[in-house]
Symmetry: D2
Subunit: 472 residues, 4 copies
């Protein structure tokens, strides 16, 4: 199994002024966001208040078959979700979106991120008689919104009030009978943007999903903003806007798709810039600059351009072996890594190689890759990492192993270099991160590199929640 | 599609004093209770507080495959459920048991029946901020129990307190970390009994499930009783016991399996007795007594014995065409009925036949059957119905079409006779019902025959709930 | 696992003069013939020479879903098949019909029975360069027909010529571009009949399938006859007709559906008559006559009528536990039998019972049933078997265990009585068989009772073929 | 739907001297060869002459699940196959390997390529009484080998003799009780190589599959060679070796994986060289060199290196949208292209781009891509094609549309340039092909570029075979 960091979830919503095949639009959107989560997929279609749901464990291509999408029927509003749930047992996964009935009718919630005070909020609600049928924060958000709705006269206001109680990272898309609501936590940890095509509005985790649907990018949802789309158009509640932004730096480094533009910053350009900075900071005498596919490729191009060392290919990735789900199918055989990634011997033999990757978590995968290249005849392998040293756990929706698994907590840079077998090793500095994202219109969360958390975090580590005895 | 009345759900629970393959025991129990519901099946296994669930739409043989049962692993306690949901669209079905987390940990609920004040209770809870993720009463029961649990110090007491708020028919099986709880509403509308094999306890909707597992029948759960099985054995809370029993007469007439003994009364014997009474009340000059398979067979045997007319077979039922689910697969073709039931021409030709069926709802199916027999050469067909005229809707867990569909509301007996094409027609009288169940230790609910409802019922008809715009 | 004898396969064909939904007609026909085989199902539709196939392992309800039937499209001719393959591993099953291309175009073959000289014919063909992709005799028949077709000028003549080379039991349905052909071996071991509805012709293993489709029974295919249906109507080649018929007696005893009429004889009436003869030959002082469901019920009715002992029910069969396939799903648990069949204690207790079954193979199942009844309180159990003692293996399409498993070869009647725990035991005599089928217009094969085989049989036992190392 | 050229099939075989999990090894091998065919996958395991098969329509990850692979059990020999069947209806696909019984026992055949005299051979065999159950050439090869086996005393000799009769492209892997045989047609159209790990031998379509299994590349199977691996090691029959080689040039251009080495030539290096030649022949004033992912990337790197224009990324491919199968799932929506490939606006805007692709078939896809780039702000798009103009149909296993669909037959280069909207257009010359593959130890088939076919080809076009009325 790979040791990749895994971000949790992609969101997509459509609001059309006419009844049409909104399910198919969501399906396309989810295909474009599939990189954000491959464990489950789901679509809910709202036809005049009737909510029809299709969701299941699996890839979008497995869950959202043409038959399934067709059965969802037509409507004016629809919401979709892809979920990532690294390390989870399959029977613990709760596919989203969640649909429920509350005081004012039906509500559908899809969520991306992590509520850091979830445990406390759940306890409070349980004391009031609440029952929880899943482990997912979408259910908690639904509860909070439903309880706020009692004291205010519209659901978008209830969402805005809920922000007072919910701490952490939460981009959410909520659908009611006649409204599509999109909101981002006050720090804006996770992305969420708005698009438009004719009279149809879209909300999506990333702009690449808008491109897939030939929709125009309108703008990002602001940190703390509650956007409500209904028959009267778009309206916003901005009472929680204006604070200190803390957008997840790892979105630029690894999670997001290179063709997305988030908070004004092209993801590809940020990564290419990271390669350029590495080339300046850690030059190397080498014959070829290569990236670890696919996450290191953009930075490798930047390194090659800045260093004038030719860009090349050292590793071929099997595109039929999915990141996580398919690897399970291969099993824990000794070949699960070599079937995924193979050295391009003819290109590598006798060469000095600069190898760019986006990050190092435990270092074991990278050690195997360096060994593969050397076995294939590479003379030298100079590793360059397009992010700072990764030393602190994430509480905001990223499934990162507990801190003891982070190699950067156990070794210094020289130790890591030896561990991975590289001839030299260079990381970005955390100060460099700001330089990557010159066009970004908000601050970054760099907690995993610096340990400076934008919000108070619990003392227990986040991933432990799945070890508690909980219902599915 | 058949116009059969459809009872909702079968319940099964196991409590073992050692960790063992409780999932397999539940699976066997559900096979034995499959006649109570063929729309979905589910099993939840409790291994020291860890709840693992497998449930889905389909027959037990489709859902509870050996692979699926094996993956549930071992445990000490387990609960299973089969669901009947006549008239429901597939995407409205919520398979049970329901698993949730509440104040004191995990809870699993399975339910059989119908809460008549569900709408009011849901509204009250929604005003308090509750959200509902399903249409099923098990979720409502879980909420009520969870809220009662706040004010008392054990879950069985919370269940007992919940009885004060829940009106209608509800046999429930509830599982927590260390307890298996079985309860029956104060009228005891639906069956529930206790069995034992060695140190393993069982609760089941019908005793036939105990037989399948070689377990000894211990006793029925009493109306209003809350039975709690844990490491200390069986204990009961009987604060709601002692009221007027109202066991569903239709369980004896049609729903239950003939080899079950409920409230001390053999189901087969009740049906055979019905045939005997019909023979006395409505004798016929005939060559052969036959039953409509399978529900009319027991009463036909009684009629034959009492009348000394030979028992015979007039209709062959295709045992590979399931009652509802498989018929959907055949489609609405003109052959859906003839593939299900065929006349035995060689036995029927030139004969005068007494044909016994358990009930008449709309009368269309029976009309087709009588025509089939006459087409096959039957000289006369004398229909005898082993229940009274069915005139009033049921609010207690039986999916009966709205009252306008009941033929007995639109026609008198002679009209019905002509409609079905019979040469004579005889029904039981509602007074006869008590005579069928001489061994039954409690009163009967005969509301669907008499209109006398044991509890106050809502003005809207029960089935309309599915027409509201609700989440799945 | 049950020790039931298992007959192999049901055949169905349609020829319509207009392009229509022939796939749906075949589907209905297969539902009606499902009792003849539950291991696989298949349909081939011929639309102007284009053959579309859908076949798979499973029940008709699992394989021939509405989606699958719809995808087969329309046509004028279609063939269907259900297969029984008792004792086979799933990966050895070859669902039929088989479709192939031969000298003159496409051909589709479905087969019921067993070719006794298959091994020799295969060897001869292999010497000529033939390859075999399955174990099924349909493939062999296709080869023989294809090779005969070279020397004659129409396919129906090739089929007639093939009869010279094929020995054993083979009812076959063959479809070519423009023809539907039905043939029966010269002894007529297995049934096959012709039906008609308007301008649509049907061929079916049993008449019950014609009833399901509202078709009129025309006549049986004669032993040795080759019937050819095409745009010119029905024509026959009768060069192999007129020999000594040898219709499988077990079809009347057990295999066929009671509502079928085969060779002029009602199956139900034959079974009822068997009960009457048993009542005369082996009277008993008893309170109730019961059948082992479902195969003993008809004879029990005959016994009851002839003896004037009341007919009753002693055993309830779970109709959701299929004969073979579902039992695999339950696994080899100790409850696999009790979940399938339960004693009706209230009816049985304190009673002397005549229990009628159709046959005894190994005797173990019947021993368990007798024990179940005695455990339930039966005072005496008098077993009556509606067939003679079963002592010789079948080479004609019945999966019967090797001769050492037949209890009647190892014990005399008294020994069997003790083995099964009965208070008395009575079998039919082989001479009685002719009396059961007074209306039958041909002779019977009684080889399994008498050892007198109508055709020469190989020295090796038939079932051993599956133990050879063969491709799937 | 893409208009990609589609090569047919990947082969894999294992021979181990001990009984082990050969199915898992084949599974890994098929993952590595998945790019050669995504329509079906299959594995046959040989355990001492018992052949167990698992094959189905779908990706390796869908068909060869861990459960399925486990059920195949252990053995010493196994064969696997992935099939490509572009344009085929799903019900016409016959997954391989094919298993059959012939004169000497069981035989398993897997094939890659196309027999050009298949029609004639089939006709001859049909005249001899043969029947064909599939459309696939593997069945034909099995027939020919089986018939040759009659006149010689071992199967490998029969394979060698079969070469006399079989014309066209056929790399085959054949398995018998104790042998694994690999053969390549005398022209060596399709690749096939031998590997070794310890005492385990492998045969594979491409060397990348050997790498995945940590096996050492031994050598290519020679054109015309029949390799036989059994307990005595490797032996060869080379009676058909030594002729004029004609290896498919398109394997280097597009079909094969870049990390494979075929006939001594690295595929990646051939493609990179193509880019270098294009840079010399068709220089461009541009800011960035990009490839159409994934097939144009290697040549783009070569162009960039030779031209000193920076290498960059212009298009992001959605790696979750498979080449063919997944696109069907998306449907023919207007977004099927944009969800697959998106322009990287931030990198493209205001730039002059050299866009390298491997070939142009109809030109429509490339036209859309050029438009996408221009819409994203590209100032100029200079298209370079790393193969010559594609003008002639292929009869050797490549599913290429009929010649009228080839844009190069309808337009000259300038016409094509205008059609695709490029600012300039450059192709390789057919003379250049030899320069790409300096290390290749045999001749190339360049028929699709030059019309010079190495063997006589039929007058009808190859793809028409699927339009004939044939069985599945």
């Amino acid at each position: 199994m790979s040791e990749r960091i895994q971000e949790e979830c992609g969101l997509f919503g459509v609001y059309s002024d006419t009844v049409c095949d909104v399910a198919q639009e969501v399906c396309i959107g989810l295909y474009a966001l599939q990189h954000r989560g491959q464990e489950s997929a789901g679509i809910v279609v709202n036809n005049d208040g009737n909510f029809r749901t299709h969701k299941n464990i699996g890839f979008v291509s497995e869950v959202c078959t043409q038959d399934a999408v067709k059965k969802l029927g037509v409507g004016k509003i629809a919401v979709g979700h892809v979920l990532s749930a690294y390390r989870e047992k399959e029977d613990r996964i709760s596919p989203q979106p969640l649909v429920m009935r509350y005081k004012k009718g039906n509500m559908c919630v899809a969520h991306n991120g992590a509520i850091v005070n979830a445990h406390q909020l759940r306890s409070e609600l349980e004391v009031g008689g609440a029952i929880f049928q899943t482990l997912c924060d979408a259910e908690l958000i639904a509860y909070i919104v439903a309880s706020e709705r009692i004291n205010c006269n519209c659901v978008e206001l209830a969402v805005a009030n809920a922000i007072n109680r919910l701490q952490g990272a939460y981009s959410v898309v909520i659908m009611t009978h006649g409204k599509l609501i999109a909101a981002r936590d006050p720090h804006g940890f996770r992305p969420l943007c708005i698009g438009k095509r004719g009279n149809t509005y879209f909300v999506a985790s990333e702009s690449c999903a808008l491109d897939a649907l030939h929709a125009e990018f309108v703008r990002d949802v602001e940190p703390g903003e509650v956007v409500c789309i209904n028959s009267e158009g778009i309206n916003s509640i901005k009472t929680h806007c204006g604070g200190q932004g803390a957008f997840c730096a790892f979105e630029y480094v690894y999670f997001a798709r290179p063709d997305s533009v988030i908070n004004g910053q092209s993801v590809h350009m940020a990564r290419q810039k990271a390669g350029e900075i590495l080339a300046q900071r850690y030059p190397a005498k080498a014959d070829m600059v290569c990236g670890v596919p696919n996450s290191g490729l953009d930075a490798a191009i930047g390194y090659a351009a800045a260093s004038s060392i030719p860009y090349g290919v050292a590793l071929i990735k099997n595109r039929f072996v999915g990141r996580f789900a398919d690897q399970k199918k291969i099993g824990n055989s000794e070949y699960s890594e070599s079937v995924r990634l193979n050295a391009l011997t003819s290109a590598v033999k006798g060469k000095r190689i600069v190898l760019v990757d986006d990050s190092i978590v435990r270092g074991n995968t990278l050690a195997r890759i360096v060994k593969t290249l050397k076995d294939a005849g590479a003379l030298e392998v100079h590793v360059r990492v397009s992010s700072p040293m990764f030393m602190h756990p994430c509480y905001f929706g990223t499934s990162i192993r507990n801190r003891d698994e982070l190699i950067a907590r156990r070794m210094d840079k020289e130790g890591i270099r030896r561990h991975i077998g590289a001839d030299s090793l260079g990381y970005l500095e955390s100060d460099d991160l700001a330089k990557l994202v010159c066009d970004c219109n908000m601050g970054l969360c760099t907690a995993c590199f610096t340990g400076e958390y934008p919000v108070e975090v619990p003392e227990v580590e986040p991933q432990s929640k799945y070890d508690r005895k909980l219902p599915i």
